[in-house]
Every structure is written in structure tokens, then in C-alpha cells.
């Protein structure tokens, strides 16, 4: 996480941010990285919290049922 923030222009950090954002080089300041990380994880976790939809549990049960019917390895 912290290993790519070293190229920042030191004391000129904030004014350097928007420039480096535009040309895609250098490092984003820490707050920006944190903000993006928080948003990504919030979006991701929202789906994770939905758990396992029935369709997948049902599919697994169906697969196991079929296996039981064909006792072949």
C-alpha cells in the first residue's frame, strides 16, 4: 500500500497531485488513495454482504444429488 507513494514532490505535494493525476505518473497523495480504497471496498462489501444466493446453493445440492444417483468414480 505505501510502497508507491515515494515519488511525490515533497513539500509541493498538494499542487503536484492534480498534475500527476492527469498524466498518470507519480503517486497519488495518501488521502486520495484512501478515499478510492474506501469507496471500492464499500461497493465490493455491499455485494459480499448479500451472501450466497439460493441459485448457487440449489445448484450444489442438485449436483450432489446427481452424483449419488450415479455411483461411479
Amino acid at each position: 500500500m505505501n510502497d508507491d507513494k515515494t515519488k511525490g514532490p515533497g513539500s509541493d505535494m498538494l499542487s503536484g497531485v492534480s498534475k500527476s493525476s492527469r498524466d498518470g505518473s507519480g503517486a497519488l497523495d495518501k488521502e486520495t488513495q484512501t478515499k478510492i480504497g474506501q469507496q471500492l471496498r464499500a461497493m465490493y462489501d455491499e455485494v459480499v454482504r448479500q451472501g450466497v444466493p439460493d441459485r448457487f446453493a440449489d445448484l450444489l445440492k442438485e449436483l450432489e444429488r446427481r452424483e449419488d444417483q450415479e455411483p461411479k468414480s
Binding site: T32, L40, R41, P53, L59, L63
Partner: protein
């Protein structure tokens, strides 16, 4: 072949994260669920090739990613893909109104090149290390790092997070962080 119940349970337990990854990649819930189902079937059919003791989740993510990419290539041959088409294909389920909270982010993600998008999601959201993400994407660790870095820059400018002082967590994200995680 009978599936080891412990492995079976582990596959089932990985599904929520696989879905989150698939939705982030495809931007489409229905497509994502088909992708997860296909991943599950492949994984169970090839479960003998999984080495016990290694990272099952990373193995499943690798299968899903490869399926997504081959499907993507197929689609691309059928319809010429243009920038933003991914974003246009966003579908939200009626019962998932909260998806709207992240619409801006999803649209911005959809504009990223695929390599960058998957690297950013794996490292920034799924919680894989750079090394694990590199193994999943079959590339060098340095490549992952630079993709993640470029993806963050692009997202920052898409979301207009240019300067630290502009950053107030938006209400949706704040609500998620504060309340719903309980």
C-alpha cells in the same frame, strides 16, 4: 467423483466474494452470476487439480478471471467494443437499490482498461496481496503494481478526486461505513 464436503463448503463460502469480483469486472449482475455459476461448475469438475493447502480463493478467482476474459474476447469479436460500453451495460436488480449508491464509481471503473480494472479490484477491494494478484492475472508483481497505480490515477480523475481537501466522504459511502456494517 464425490466432492469432499469441506472443499464443497469452502467453494460455497467463496461465492459472495466471487460475485463481488464478477460484478466489478462485468458491471452486470446477471452476467456476473452466470460467470460465478460457470466458475463453480468448472471448479468442482476440476477439483482434483486443486492442491490442498494452497489458496482456494485465489484458485477460484483465477478460474473466474479466465472465463471472463475468454467470454469477453468472444463478445468483442461479435460486437466492436467502445469505451464506456461496459458502463452502459450496467444493470441493477430491483431489490438492489443500493447499487445506485455506487453508480458513479461503477461507471468510472467501467472506463478503465480491463487489465487495470481487475488489478485494482483484486488488490484494492478483494484484499489480495500484489503477489497473489500477480498469480491470478499470470503476470509479474511489478506489472500489477503499475496497473493498480495507473488505475487509481484514472479513477481519481474520473471521480474528480484531484485534491485531498475536496474529499468529504459522500453520504452513501459514509452511511455504509457507519451503519450498515454492524
Amino acid at each position: 467423483m464425490t466432492i469432499d464436503p469441506a472443499l464443497r463448503d469452502a467453494v460455497l463460502a467463496a461465492i459472495p466474494k466471487l460475485r463481488a469480483f464478477a460484478i466489478s469486472l462485468s458491471g452486470n449482475v446477471d452476467r456476473a452470476d452466470d460467470l460465478v455459476q460457470e466458475t463453480m461448475l468448472r471448479a468442482l469438475a476440476n477439483i482434483h487439480s486443486f492442491q490442498p493447502g494452497t489458496n482456494l480463493q485465489a484458485w477460484l478467482f483465477t478460474i473466474l478471471r479466465n472465463l471472463f476474459r475468454s467470454e469477453y474476447r468472444k463478445r468483442k469479436r461479435e460486437v466492436e467494443d467502445v469505451d464506456g460500453r461496459h458502463a452502459d451495460s450496467l444493470v441493477s436488480h430491483p431489490e438492489q437499490d443500493s447499487n445506485l449508491e455506487f453508480k458513479e464509481l461503477r461507471v468510472a471503473l467501467g472506463k478503465l482498461p480491463q487489465d487495470q480494472r481487475e488489478a485494482l479490484i483484486l488488490v484494492g477491494a478483494s484484499g489480495f496481496s500484489y503477489e497473489e494478484a500477480a498469480a491470478i492475472c499470470e503476470c509479474a508483481v511489478g506489472t500489477i503494481k503499475s496497473r493498480v497505480n495507473r488505475a487509481r490515477h484514472r479513477l481519481a480523475s474520473e471521480l474528480s478526486i484531484e485534491r485531498a481537501e475536496d474529499i468529504g466522504p459522500d453520504p452513501a459511502v459514509r452511511a455504509v461505513m457507519a451503519g450498515k456494517l454492524r
